[in-house]
C-alpha cells in the first residue's frame, strides 16, 4: 500500500508544483533577443527639422527612449530623464527620444510641458520601433560606444538605474536580461 501511495505522491506533487510555478511567470512576457547585439541603424527626423543618423554617434554612449504623450509611465519618468540629461550633457553621452504612435501636436505639448531639451523625433512609420522590437512604451535602450545594445528597460526608469546602466554601457558591460520598472510599459 505504501508503495502505491508513494507512486501517487510522485506523480501528483510535481504536477501541482509545476502549476504553482505558473504563478511566477508571465505567459505574455517574451525576452528581448536584441541585448548584446548591434543596435539597428536608423535616421530620425527631429522635431526641430534636423536629421540624426545613429551611425554618427559611434564612440558615444547612446540612450534611446521610446515614448508617447498618452503613455502614463512615460509621463512619470519624463522629468527624471531631463534631469539626468542636464547633469550628463557635454559628456560622452547622447540622449535620444523616439516618439511613436502619437499626434505631432500632442508630442510637442508633452516636450514643452516637461521642458525636454535632448534630441527628440518622430518615428512616423513605426519602422524604428519595429526594428527594436518595441512592444509597449516606455522602453529604453542603452547603446555602448561600439554601437551595441547593452541593456533594455521596460517601464519607468529611475535616476540611479540610468547612471548605473550608462556607466556599464561606457565600460561595454552587457546585461544578462532586460529590466522592468515600477510602472510597467503600456501595451
Amino acid at each position: 500500500m505504501w508503495r502505491r501511495i508513494i507512486i501517487v505522491l510522485a506523480i501528483i506533487l510535481p504536477l501541482i508544483g509545476l502549476l504553482a510555478y505558473g504563478f511566477y511567470r508571465d505567459p505574455r512576457y517574451i525576452p528581448s533577443p536584441i541585448i548584446g547585439h548591434p543596435a539597428p541603424r536608423f535616421t530620425l527626423t527631429l522635431f526641430n527639422g534636423g536629421q540624426l543618423d545613429l551611425a554618427s554617434l559611434r564612440g558615444k554612449v547612446v540612450f534611446v527612449n521610446f515614448w508617447a504623450s498618452w503613455c502614463l509611465p512615460c509621463r512619470a519618468e519624463a522629468s527624471e530623464l531631463e534631469a539626468a540629461w542636464q547633469t550628463l550633457k557635454g559628456s560622452d553621452v547622447v540622449f535620444l527620444g523616439v516618439n511613436i504612435q502619437d499626434q505631432e501636436e500632442n508630442a510637442l505639448a508633452f516636450l514643452r510641458e516637461f521642458n525636454i531639451t535632448y534630441a527628440n523625433g518622430r518615428d512616423a512609420t513605426g519602422k524604428i520601433a519595429i526594428d527594436y522590437g518595441v512592444w509597449g512604451i516606455p522602453e529604453t535602450f542603452f547603446i555602448d560606444p561600439e554601437g551595441r545594445i547593452t541593456y533594455k528597460h521596460v517601464g519607468e526608469l529611475d535616476p540611479t538605474l540610468i547612471t548605473a546602466k550608462l556607466d556599464e554601457a561606457r565600460r561595454r558591460i552587457v546585461s544578462a536580461k532586460e529590466g522592468t520598472g515600477s510602472h510597467l510599459s503600456i501595451r
Partner: protein, 666 residues
C-alpha cells in the same frame, strides 16, 4: 439590502455545508441515524440558501442595483432584460455562483432521488457533495464575493463585453457548467464507495445515468462554444486548441472513456481501479479547467480575470487529487477484478482499446496545453504549442477511435467467433471499401481525409446493417413493420440504441471536421467597386460600402453580390462594428450554409468611405453544417438512452436481458 441578503445566504449555506461534512463522520462514530438524516437536511438547506443568493444576484442585475460592484461591471441601464439575467455568468464571481447553484441542484436531486436507496453509501455521497459545495461557497464568501459593494454608487454600469451579447452566450456557459458539475455526482458515488470500502458494482450502475447526463451537457457545451466561435467571432474557425478550449474539452475524454468501460465492469466485473481513476480524473479536470481559466498561468485568447482565486483552485485541485488517489491506493487491494480477458477479439478488448485511445488523447492534449510551463521550468525557453501539434497527434488517435466505434458495439462479449465477425462486419467492410474506391476515383486522395470518410462509412454501415438485421428478426417474430420494429427495439434496449444514435451523430461530426480541416479554401483580396473575386465555384462582386450609426456602435458594411456557379444568389453584407470604448473593431462575418459547404465572408478592411475599396476575406469550408447536425443527432440519441421508461426498474432489467438476445450475440 439585496447584497446583504445574498451574502448572508452564502455564509449560512457554507455553515450548513461544513455540517454536511462533519455529520456523516459523527454519525458513523456514534452510530446515530439522526446525523445521517441531518446530512441530507444540510444539502436541502444549502439548496434553498444558494437559490436565494442566486435569485438575489439576478434580481440585482435585472433591477440594475448599482450599489453592487458585480452589477456595475456586467450590466447597464440600456441592457435588454435577457442580457441582464445572463450577466449572472458574464464574469468570474457570478459564474462561480452559477456553478455552485447547479451543483447544489444536482446534489439536492441526488439526496431526494436516493432517499430510500443506497442506505450505506448515501451519507458519504452527500458528504462529498457537501465538501465540493463548501469549497465553492468558501470562495464565494471569502475570495470573490459577487455581492461586494461599490461606493460611490455610479449612475450607470459598464456593461457586458460586446461579444458576449449573443444568444449562444446565453446557453454555452450554463451548458458547460452543467456538464462539469454533473461529473461531481459519479465522483461522489465513487468516493463514497472507496470511503466505505463497499466496492461491489452497485455504485457504477447508479452513476451511469448521471454520467450520461453530464456527458451530454459537456458535449453540447463544447459544440455550442464552437458554434459561437464560428458564427460570432468571425474568424472562420470553430476550434483553435486554445488552453481554455482544451480545458473544456479534456473532461469529455475520460467521461467518454468511463461511459464505455463501466459497461465492462457491469458485465464482467473488470477494470475497477481503472474506472475509479477515470472518474477521479474527469472530476479533477473540471477543477483544473477552472483553475486554468482563472489563474492566467497560460496565455489564452480568452480574456479571463486573474486574481487570488487561481491559487485557491490549485489548492483544491491538490486536495482532490491527493485525497482521491490516496484513498484509491489505500483501497486498491480490495479492488481485484473478478475475471480475466478471455480473448483479444472481444467487446471487452474493443472497449479497453477505446479507453487506451481516449486516455492517450487526453494525455497528449494535456501535455500540449501545459507544455509551455514545462519548457520554461526546465530550460527557461518560451514556447507556444499550437494547432499543428494538436492536429497531428490527435487526428490518428481520433480516427482509430472512429474505427473502434464501428467494431465495439457489434462484436461479441468474451470471445468473438469467426461467425460473429463475418456476420457483422463483412458487408459493412465491403461497402466502405467500395465507397473508399469511389472517393479515390472522385479525387479524394489525401490519406487522412480518405481514411476518415471510409471509417465513417464503415461505422454507419455497421449500425444500419445491425439494425436492419434486428428489424428483420422482429418482422419475422412479431410481424411488425419497420417503424414499429424500430420502436420496439429502441424501447426494449434504450441504452444500446441511444448509444448507436449518438455514434451516428459523432460520425457526422467527424465528417464535418474532416471536410473542413482538409478542404477549406481561403482567399483575401482588395476590391474596387465592380471588381470580382472567384473562389471555388463562387464569384463575389463588390458593390459598395455603406456606413451607418447604430444605437451602440458605428457600422461599416460592404455589399457583395454572390454568384454560385454563375447563378446569382443574393447580396451579403459583412460588416465591421466600431464600439466607442473599444480600440479595434468587432467584425460581423456573414455566411451561407449548405449541406456541401459554407461560404464565409469577412470584411477585413476598407479604404476611406469615398474611395470605395474593400479588403475581403473569403472562406469556403466544406461540410461544416454536418458538425452542428451531428450535435442535434447526439442530443436525440441521448434522449433515447435516458428517456424514462414506463416502469423504469422493470425496463432496466428487461433491457439487460434483451442485450443478450440481440442478433449480434452469437
Amino acid at each position: 439590502m439585496t447584497a446583504a441578503l445574498g451574502h448572508v445566504s452564502i455564509i449560512l449555506a457554507l455553515l450548513l455545508a461544513l455540517w454536511g461534512i462533519i455529520a456523516p463522520i459523527l454519525g458513523s462514530r456514534m452510530r446515530r441515524e439522526g446525523f445521517f438524516v441531518s446530512a441530507r437536511v444540510a444539502i436541502l438547506g444549502q439548496f434553498l440558501l444558494v437559490t436565494l443568493a442566486s435569485s438575489s444576484l439576478i434580481y440585482a442585475l435585472v433591477s440594475t442595483d448599482f450599489s453592487i460592484r458585480y452589477v456595475v461591471f456586467n450590466t447597464t441601464r440600456s441592457t435588454p432584460i435577457y442580457y441582464r439575467v445572463t450577466g449572472l455568468w458574464g464574469a468570474l464571481e457570478g459564474s462561480l455562483l452559477l456553478w455552485e447553484w447547479i451543483l447544489i441542484i444536482f446534489s439536492g436531486l441526488v439526496a431526494w432521488t436516493y432517499k430510500n436507496r443506497h442506505q450505506e453509501l448515501m451519507p458519504w455521497v452527500l458528504m462529498i457533495l457537501s465538501t465540493v459545495s463548501a469549497f465553492f461557497l468558501a470562495v464565494l464568501a471569502l475570495v470573490s464575493n459577487p455581492f461586494e459593494g461599490v461606493f460611490p454608487i455610479p449612475a450607470d454600469g459598464r456593461g457586458l463585453n460586446a461579444l458576449l451579447e449573443d444568444a449562444n452566450m446565453i446557453t454555452h456557459p450554463p451548458l458547460l457548467y452543467t456538464g462539469f458539475v454533473g461529473l461531481t455526482v459519479p465522483y461522489a458515488f465513487a468516493m463514497a464507495a472507496l470511503i466505505k470500502g463497499k466496492l461491489d458494482d452497485g455504485w457504477i450502475v447508479t452513476t451511469r445515468r448521471w454520467t450520461i447526463i453530464a456527458w451530454f451537457f459537456l458535449t453540447m457545451g463544447n459544440l455550442v462554444g464552437a458554434w459561437w466561435s464560428y458564427h460570432v467571432l468571425g474568424w472562420g474557425g470553430y476550434w483553435a486548441w486554445d488552453p481554455v478550449e482544451n480545458a473544456a474539452f479534456m473532461p469529455w475524454l475520460p467521461a467518454t472513456a468511463f461511459l464505455h468501460s463501466i459497461q465492462v465492469q457491469e458485465r464482467r466485473h473488470m477494470l475497477k481501479v481503472w474506472n475509479l481513476s477515470l472518474i477521479i480524473i474527469a472530476f479533477s479536470l473540471t477543477i483544473f479547467g477552472t483553475f486554468l481559466t482563472r489563474s492566467g498561468i497560460l496565455s489564452s485568447i480568452h480574456a479571463f480575470s486573474n486574481g487570488p482565486v487561481g491559487s485557491v483552485f490549485l489548492a483544491f485541485l491538490a486536495f482532490v487529487l491527493l485525497g482521491s488517489f490516496g484513498l484509491l491506493a489505500y483501497r486498491a487491494d480490495h479492488l481485484k477484478g473478478q475475471s480475466e480477458l478471455d480473448s483479444v477479439v472481444s467487446r471487452e478488448s474493443a472497449f479497453l482499446l477505446n479507453n487506451v485511445v481516449l486516455v492517450s488523447a487526453l494525455f497528449t492534449i494535456f501535455l500540449g496545453t501545459i507544455f509551455p510551463l514545462i519548457a520554461e521550468a526546465i530550460t527557461g525557453a518560451k514556447v507556444s504549442v499550437g494547432a499543428p501539434y494538436f492536429n497531428s497527434v490527435t487526428v490518428p488517435l481520433f480516427l482509430l477511435l472512429v474505427f473502434l466505434m464501428g467494431v465495439g458495439p457489434m462484436i461479441a462479449w468474451r470471445k468473438a467467433s469467426w461467425d460473429n465477425l463475418k456476420r457483422n462486419f463483412l458487408w459493412p467492410a465491403l461497402a466502405s471499401l467500395v465507397i473508399a474506391l469511389a472517393l479515390f476515383i472522385w479525387r479524394v486522395r489525401d490519406f487522412f481525409p480518405l481514411l476518415g470518410f471510409t471509417l465513417s462509412v464503415f461505422v454507419t454501415a455497421t449500425i444500419l446493417f445491425d439494425t436492419a438485421l434486428a428489424v428483420r428478426a422482429r418482422h419475422r417474430l412479431a410481424g411488425e413493420g419497420v417503424l414499429a420494429a424500430l420502436r420496439t427495439l429502441a424501447r426494449r434496449n434504450q441504452r444500446r440504441y441511444g448509444g448507436l444514435v449518438v455514434h451516428l451523430g459523432i460520425v457526422l461530426i467527424v465528417l464535418g471536421i474532416g471536410g473542413s480541416m482538409s478542404y477549406s479554401i481561403e482567399r483575401q483580396a482588395t476590391l474596387s467597386v465592380g471588381e470580382s473575386l472567384s473562389v471555388g465555384h463562387y464569384r463575389i462582386r463588390f458593390e459598395g460600402l455603406r456606413g451607418t450609426q447604430q444605437p451602440t456602435h458605428y457600422r461599416v458594411e460592404g455589399a457583395f453580390r454572390i454568384f454560385n456557379n454563375g447563378d446569382e444568389s443574393g447580396i451579403f453584407f459583412p460588416a465591421l462594428k466600431f464600439f466607442p470604448n473599444q480600440q479595434s473593431p468587432v467584425g460581423r462575418a456573414v455566411f451561407r450554409s449548405t449541406y456541401a459547404d459554407d461560404l464565409y465572408l469577412i470584411l477585413s478592411g476598407f479604404s476611406e468611405l469615398g474611395q470605395n475599396q474593400a479588403t475581403l476575406k473569403v472562406l469556403i469550408r466544406p461540410l461544416v453544417t454536418w458538425i452542428w447536425l451531428g450535435g442535434a443527432i447526439i442530443a436525440l440519441g441521448t434522449m433515447v438512452a435516458i428517456w424514462p421508461a414506463k416502469n423504469s426498474r422493470q425496463n432496466a432489467e428487461s433491457s439487460e436481458q434483451a442485450n443478450y438476445r440481440l442478433p449480434t450475440e452469437s
